[in-house]
């Protein structure tokens, strides 16, 4: 049986080597090339990067953006998480679902909606102009503040989810003890509750903090190029005859990848060292839930409502443009049509088909890889399993642009995969690899080994045990993982944009092409609207099966990686 495990492990390693290590090594090699010289490698590009005040400025800007986004999401997310986790309020489920909406929305779709709403000739400005309140359009969103706003809105759920998971997991007896000792509610919150959920917070905070280092599209939509991932994209996509520009772009990709991986690992070690383990698990599934006083209740509702409205504006505005055509210079559309949807469903159904096909295939790859990988990591003592776990988890931190560019470099000549559409699902699978694995992993951990052992003692083989005992028991967690994987693959763009060719476009690429490179923002709006609907339906399915939307969106790992 041990030999079987080793075989599986070897196969998994081959896949990792071929689709992760091999392409990423190309990225490093390319970054060491020097323009105008063949077969000559040096770290000159890196020296140029750190000597050039412009690149340092983009680096500083990105860092500033990351800090601002983290602060904003934390300030707005903390009360929200507390309300959701602790207060016993009616309609909490609906609010939770609404507040989670941005997680399923591609960030750039939110940016488009924001421009329609708050742009120089957007709804608000036009209304103010029409009413004669202002003479000239005001600038609401173009600039760093707009970027911070939209990214914070997009990333807020990550903080809320991780924090509320933390609040729920705390043993109520600890807080009660503090109360008995005479600590006031604020003191109790600051000295007991917050420190206890800091590992959970950090898990969400890392995702939030790393986001500006990977998102190149949103800054570009706001007309801000001076961010590390954006300048990397522009340098690579528009280098033309200037090879140095391309190499500098790749250097930027490598550096932002290194930053992401570094911060990710640092926080992971910190969390592991700081993890609080209570000997007695005195908590229930819901954790400590209290009935708020009437004033608190009112304030909570107001707060949730404000956030929900902000979040809901995105699908509403996208919906308005989806059902109208060429709606410009009017506060509200005056012409309603289904043309955009007709176009998506009838004239170019290939985008919709591709989206489902590629995400579906990626999902299939994900299952074929994820289940055995989760098994190897949790249930066996195969040498190198920790390294396997480590590399897969690391993919969480890798920017999509790094995967996209490295695939384009690696799978061209020797292994010409990039000429076939299979590259699309493959890259999606690799990019979203950890999502499914973490979910399967967590389910495996929850599954009591004794059940499997009993099966084996009774004479069933390893495989039979797996299919008759483990799989049915794992099913729920695995299913949630599947759907989450599908959702994440469905809205992926930053890798796919580098690899797609005519005929391989997916819905997110269609949105990008119709808005950013074309004039048809009605169609882009309709596509984004359709995506929201599809993903939201999927999320509701998960919520029903996985029990609770909070758990569904975050997985049973409870906010830890």
């Amino acid at each position: 049986m041990l030999r079987g495990n080793i075989l599986i492990s070897i196969i998994l390693w081959i896949i990792i080597a071929l689709f992760v290590i091999y392409p990423l090594s190309f990225l490093i090699i390319e970054s060491l090339k020097i323009a105008g010289k063949t077969h000559y490698y040096s770290i000159q590009n890196y020296i140029d990067f750190f000597k050039d005040p412009y690149y340092l400025k983009t680096f500083g800007n990105t860092l500033l953006l990351a800090i601002l986004v983290l602060i904003t999401t934390t300030i707005f997310g903390l009360p929200l998480a507390y309300i959701l986790a602790r207060y016993n309020l009616k309609g909490k489920i609906i609010f939770t679902a609404l507040i989670l909406l941005p997680i399923v929305l591609p960030a750039y779709a939110g940016a488009f909606a924001l421009i329609i709403l708050f742009g120089k000739m957007g709804i608000v400005n036009l209304l103010l102009l029409d009413l004669g309140i202002i003479e000239k359009p005001l600038n609401f969103i173009f600039g760093l503040h707009g970027l911070v706003f939209i990214q914070s809105l997009h990333l807020l759920p990550f903080i809320v989810l991780s924090l509320s998971a933390g609040f729920t997991n705390i043993d109520p007896s600890l807080e009660e003890a503090a109360e008995v000792e005479g600590a006031g509610s604020l003191k109790r919150f600051l000295t007991i509750t917050l420190p206890l959920c800091s590992p959970n917070y950090l898990a969400g905070a890392v995702i939030v903090f790393l986001w500006p280092f990977t998102d190149w599209l949103t800054p570009l939509i706001f007309g801000l190029q001076d961010f590390l991932p954006s300048i990397a994209y522009i340098n690579i996509a528009y280098h033309f005859t200037d090879m140095h520009r391309k190499y500098m772009g790749i250097v930027s990709v490598v550096i932002s990848s290194l930053i992401c991986v570094g911060i990710f690992l640092a926080s992971k070690t910190w969390v592991e060292r700081k993890k609080y383990t209570a000997l007695s698990k005195g908590t229930t599934l819901e954790g400590r839930v209290i009935k708020p006083k009437i004033l608190n209740k009112l304030a909570s509702y107001c707060y949730m409502l404000i956030i929900a409205i902000l979040v809901l504006l995105i699908p509403i505005v996208l919906g308005l443009s989806a059902f109208s055509r060429r709606w410009v210079l009017q506060p509200f559309p005056s012409y309603w049509t289904l043309d955009n949807f007709k176009l998506i469903f009838l004239e170019t159904p290939v985008l919709l088909k591709n989206s489902f096909l590629f995400s579906g295939m990626a999902l299939l790859f994900g299952v074929c890889f994820g289940l055995p990988a989760a098994y190897i990591i949790t249930r066996t003592k195969v040498p190198g399993k920790d390294a396997l776990d480590f590399i897969i988890t690391l993919m969480l931190a890798f920017p999509g642009i790094a995967v996209g560019v490295s695939y384009l470099l690696a799978f061209w000549k020797e292994i010409p995969l990039a000429t076939h559409w299979i590259i699309m699902p493959l890259s999606l699978f690799i990019r979203r690899l950890p999502y499914f694995l973490r979910m399967a992993h967590a389910s495996y951990l929850q599954l009591d080994v004794s059940l499997e052992e009993a099966s084996e003692v009774s004479g069933a083989g390893k495989f039979r045990t797996f299919s008759n005992i483990s799989l049915p028991l794992l099913l729920k967690g695995v299913f949630v993982g599947l759907v989450m994987f599908f959702i994440m693959a469905f809205q992926e763009i930053s890798t796919a944009i580098f690899l797609y060719r005519g005929g391989w476009e997916t819905l997110p690429i269609g949105i990008y092409l119709n808005w950013h490179r074309g004039m048809e923002f009605g169609i882009a709006g309709a596509m984004a609207f359709l995506m929201i609907v599809i993903i939201f339906i999927l999320l509701l399915i998960v919520a029903r099966i996985g029990g609770g939307i909070l758990g569904a969106a975050w997985g049973s790992s409870g906010g830890r990686y």
Partner: protein
Amino acid sequence: MKKRTILLTFTLICIFLFSARLQAAEKVGWVGPVYKELSDSLMKGFKDYYKRTYGKDIEITFVRPGGWPVCVDKVRAWKGKPDADVFLGAGAPAFEVLEKEGFLIPFKPKEWDKIPEKWGGMKVKDERFMWTCFAPWIVTNLYNERVLKALKLPVPKTWKDLLNPIYREYIVQTLPYASGTQHEVIEIHLQSFGEKEGWAYNRLLAAQLARFSTGSVDTTHMVSRGEIPIGIAQPQMNAMSARADGYPVRDLLPDKTILVPEAVGLLKNAPNEANGKIFIDWLFSLEGQKYVLEGRYFPARTDIKFSNWEKEGLTMAKHAKEALGVDSFWDLKVGFVNYNLELATKRWDEVNRYYEFEIYRKWRELKSSLFLIEEVEGEIDAAKKKGIDVSKAEAKIKEARKLFEYDGAYAQARLTASQARTLLVSQTR
């Protein structure tokens, strides 16, 4: 018995061959930066023509990875094993690069003689048949007439008009390395105003910008939506196209510009070379040229009159006539720059890099420096009106402006402007 076997074998072979032929569908591939409307229109037209003429379907693939520099790079990435047959679109500079790097083979389309050789001093087709223009256009700017009207601003007519402070924050352009058209606009400035004045102009224009867009289509988009009312560096047909869609935009033909001979060329080692040739021949036929117009580009043949086509029922011919104000593209009267293509191609990267390093990257510094100079200039003018002798301050601020415009020494210009202000204060005392 034997006869039957032979017959059966023959039939089987026939069926086999026939099905094999069915499987090996005819193909042709295009790569290039043309807009979707054109590629859609040409696809429709050529498929129809192919079916009619050869009795077979043809499968067309079209790759448009981005603006023309990106397309050229795509061809380069194919490393002589192209995944397309025809490079469709882009002006002479792109084809010069492709030819120089050996990615093209010569091909003379049947109706080659119907295309003018030169126009306003600019090459329209290649005498070695490497490329031929099928859809000419002029580099223009774009404006949103409704927004300009709402802001009570006049329409700028010349390049210099755009420097008027009333347009500050109402102009958008992209980076020269993100768009071939934008690059050409800068080259136009350099070649028509002279290098020194050309860069000075670009510094001043940069101070007028609301922001940099990510590409020329992004610019069109922002102007059409009214986000920013004036867009620099636009292909001429964008105004016609956006107008046909109902956007309130108009073409802004500047006083000095160039022609972009949007051309077609055959790629070396093309996998479907024969079909590529059939396509190029068709593209220059009257039928192909009609599909070019339907695809919202101007047709290139000299024997085309829009009014005749309008009578035939082509609605786009009407839009074209109205957008251009003439009956054939070649009847246009434009102030062309004596454009040195060779020089432009040679210093392509150099110009882009200069713009990026000296203007784009220092954009903020540039603006704050210019705004201070303008402030001090205003103060000096006010003092002058009061009859105060401000000659020293005036000389100093002129020095500051020179430092700003010609040397691009923004920090130093700012310092000099502050010194001029100090001088002014001491002189008025």
